[in-house]
């Protein structure tokens, strides 16, 4: 696997930049990531996301329009611990970088423009709320993390969206949009000269917009919810269910949280994937037809996994999943043999996944800057995984899973009750 060339720079302010070279690609991608997201401390839930929307407003109108004038595309997203603004185009590199820094560095909040944004974000929330799987996910997150910011939808609630004011947006902005918590990424086919020019320009712009800002450290809490099993009344026919696993012992493996995440995903896949003896049994008993959606996440506020699926008998499948995840595995069992064999396949899969990532320039750039923000190294983690033996993997996973708590939720259709 040939890894792309990366040039990194750290400025005096603590602001960091990295340029990833992707020869032969037309797209030029630029982004600024902020180490602050929806589950981080903020008085009103959803403020980080509201801020992401509202930074597009400038005194001279929506800044998107200026990106569009030069043929560039601009967007942003908010996740649990990050907010990212990014743009891409095929030309006008200096102008795109100028605009990106202005987007992130020059807030313009007014009572009017905040009031105007609230109904738009309410519609974003409504769009999610109509999805049955969202209801299950929301119930599980609240069950794991209570009504904390992590337990609440990234965009906030209908009530919190309307509680956002100029004052609290300004507060979260000044406390979090500081050079030590921000990084720049560029990805594309740049010459050596262009790399130097970009790094010089970024240096000037971070000084212009960010240099005087200082990091305000805020205590991080680890909220815990009731971790219950819930039955959700629903108006439709959906048979969606989900489980949440709240890890108590999520620790870095070989100095990497990412590697911990990967190992846990491999472990869960090994027990629950369509190839597993367990799935075959569930399939034959008509409890499952389609694969489960499994994901492991780590955040400053708590570490967890979610498992989603649909089943004709939600109550039973939840019990079966809990059983297969918690019961000890007999070393002479078919399941143990499968997990051992599957570990080899999973190593191949992760290698392939990394190789594939490189083809999608935007995705790759976002992945790389997120890794950088978390002090992780994608390639090194892949190497650590490839050299890990099964026994080591098995022991690590047992420790990571120890004392974890499982909660669940499923939809109960009112039509079925009738």
């Amino acid at each position: 696997m040939i890894t792309p060339k990366i040039i990194k720079r750290e400025y005096k302010s603590g602001f960091k930049a990295e340029i990833i070279l992707k020869p032969h690609f037309y797209q030029r991608f630029f982004g600024i990531i902020i180490d602050f997201g929806s589950s981080d401390p903020q008085k009103v839930a959803g403020s980080a996301h509201f801020l992401e929307h509202k930074l597009f407003a400038k005194k001279d109108g929506d800044i998107s329009s200026q990106f569009e004038e030069i043929g560039a595309d601009v967007n942003a997203f908010t996740s649990f611990n990050e907010t990212m603004f990014y743009c891409s185009g095929i030309e006008h590199t200096p102008k795109m970088i100028d605009l990106l820094f202005r987007l992130v560095g020059e807030p313009y909040f007014t009572k009017q423009n905040i009031a105007k944004e609230a109904p738009i974000i309410e519609q974003e929330l409504a769009m999610y709320q109509d999805d049955p799987m969202w209801k299950v996910n929301n119930a599980i997150m609240t069950s794991m993390f209570g009504n904390s910011n992590l337990g609440t939808e990234v965009v906030g609630t209908k009530e919190s969206i309307n509680q956002v004011t100029k004052q609290n947006l300004t507060k979260v902005y000044t406390e979090n949009y500081v050079p030590t918590k921000m990084q720049f990424v560029a990805c594309g086919d740049f010459s050596d000269n262009q790399v130097r020019t970009i790094l010089r320009q970024v240096g000037k712009l971070q000084t212009k917009y960010l240099a005087d800002r200082k990091d305000v450290s805020t205590p991080v809490s680890q909220p815990v919810g009731e971790l219950s099993d819930q039955v959700l009344q629903a108006k439709g026919n959906s048979k969606a269910f989900g489980l949440g696993i709240r890890f108590k012992n999520f620790k870095k493996v070989l100095s990497s949280s990412d590697l911990t995440q990967i190992l846990l995903e491999i472990m869960l896949e090994s027990k629950l994937s369509v190839m597993s003896p367990w799935f075959e049994k569930m399939r034959k008993e008509k409890l499952l037809a389609n694969p489960l959606q499994i994901s492991v996440n780590y955040t400053r506020q708590g570490d967890f996994a979610t498992i989603f699926g649909v089943s004709a008998d939600n109550q039973r499948i939840i019990e079966e999943i809990k059983r297969v995840l918690t019961q000890p595995i007999d070393l002479n069992s078919e399941q143990y043999r499968f997990i051992k064999e599957n570990f080899v396949l999973q190593k191949k899969e992760w290698l392939a996944r990394t190789i594939r990532t490189m083809n999608n320039l935007s995705y790759f750039a976002i992945e790389m800057i997120e890794e950088n923000l978390d002090h992780e190294d994608l390639q090194l983690n892949l190497l650590k995984l490839q050299t890990m033996g099964f026994e080591e993997f098995d022991q690590i996973c047992q420790k990571l899973m120890k004392d974890s708590t499982i909660c669940s939720a499923y939809l109960n259709s009112d039509k079925e009750e009738q």
């Binding site: 109904p119 959906s238 037809a289």
Partner: protein, 402 residues
Amino acid sequence: MTNITIRKNKKFTTAALGCFLRLPLTSHNLAFASLLSRLQSNTSMLYPQIAEQTRRLADLYDLQLDIMPQLFGKEIILTYYANFVEPTEVLDPEYVCQEIIQTISEIITKPDCTPEMLAYAKRQLEDDYRELMEQPANYAIDQFFKLWYRDQPDYAENFMGPIDEIQNATVDEVNRYIESLRDVPVAVIGMGRDHQLMTKLAKFYFTQAGIIKNFQTTGLTIPANKNLIEKVDEQGNAQAQLLMGFGINHTINYQEQIVGLLLSQYLAGDQSSKLFSKIREELGAAYAVEASCFANNSLFLINAGLDPDQVESAKRVILNEIENLAAGNVDEELFKKAQKALYRNTKIGLDSQNWQMGQAFRGELFSDYLDFDRETAIKKVTTHQLVSFVQNLFFNESYILK
């Protein structure tokens, strides 16, 4: 002469191989194509257990094989699309092109329909269909097309064909369907670093009768019948779905398709696009608005998820804007932005293997498609052409799901 074309891969870390079968769109063909796709995604004669086939693909560095029917106007394209890591990326002596292409061809050309696996595929599709329809956006699009093609039921299914036909299919019927596919036109398209070797292997493994049949077709566009219908359904959702369909009054050529794409961009492509700014920014009624040109269906579709109290206002905005454009009132600045965005998307599309494969496929299906210079065409579009395109639209359907 066979319909096999493998191009040189110059910049991607993965290779791609697509096998496409062309057959007429009927609701029966679509239902059975969906069923067969699911069957083949699970097992095949050489890999009769789900775990076996999945393991085989995982062992080939997680070879991704997507099997699904795609609709192109009056035709179904039964699509087998494989994406795999280029062997030179991993340098594993057992991971070679011959093994990869042989496996792909075995799964594609040797389907296996047993009563147990048929029942399982049905359950999978039933689950998928039920969960898809529980999402208001999907339900609304399904209903929209059922109304749009209310007089042509063979074209009315948008997701997987009639679910009752899927539920009632027998093993014999599926096997007859598989047999009938042995004769339909087939094209194999690919992209790899060693494209010459891939070509030789594809010629060796894909030898069905259809590979020498004419894959290209004309007349697949479904004309739009002028017959306005407006319908509102109530589900009590948090957000209302509004879908407005405009018929295109003739079969549009490649240049007009570019104009259609430009109109989509002008109306709903970016933040400052016309409907985005009017419905989202001015009314505060939506988070997103979309506009799409379905050239093969003679349909220009505008849709949005909206505050239920603002649906009528949004509908008026859309109708006014279309009327406005038809009267020749084009926002020149916005037109230029849309043109630049479309050009950018086309250029950046070349950075995507899937996009390049999609273009190559259209080159096989449509006559002279690859000779058409899209980039130049985008640059040459005029406001006059945009107005003329809109003048050829007629409002034909409004579907609202609340």
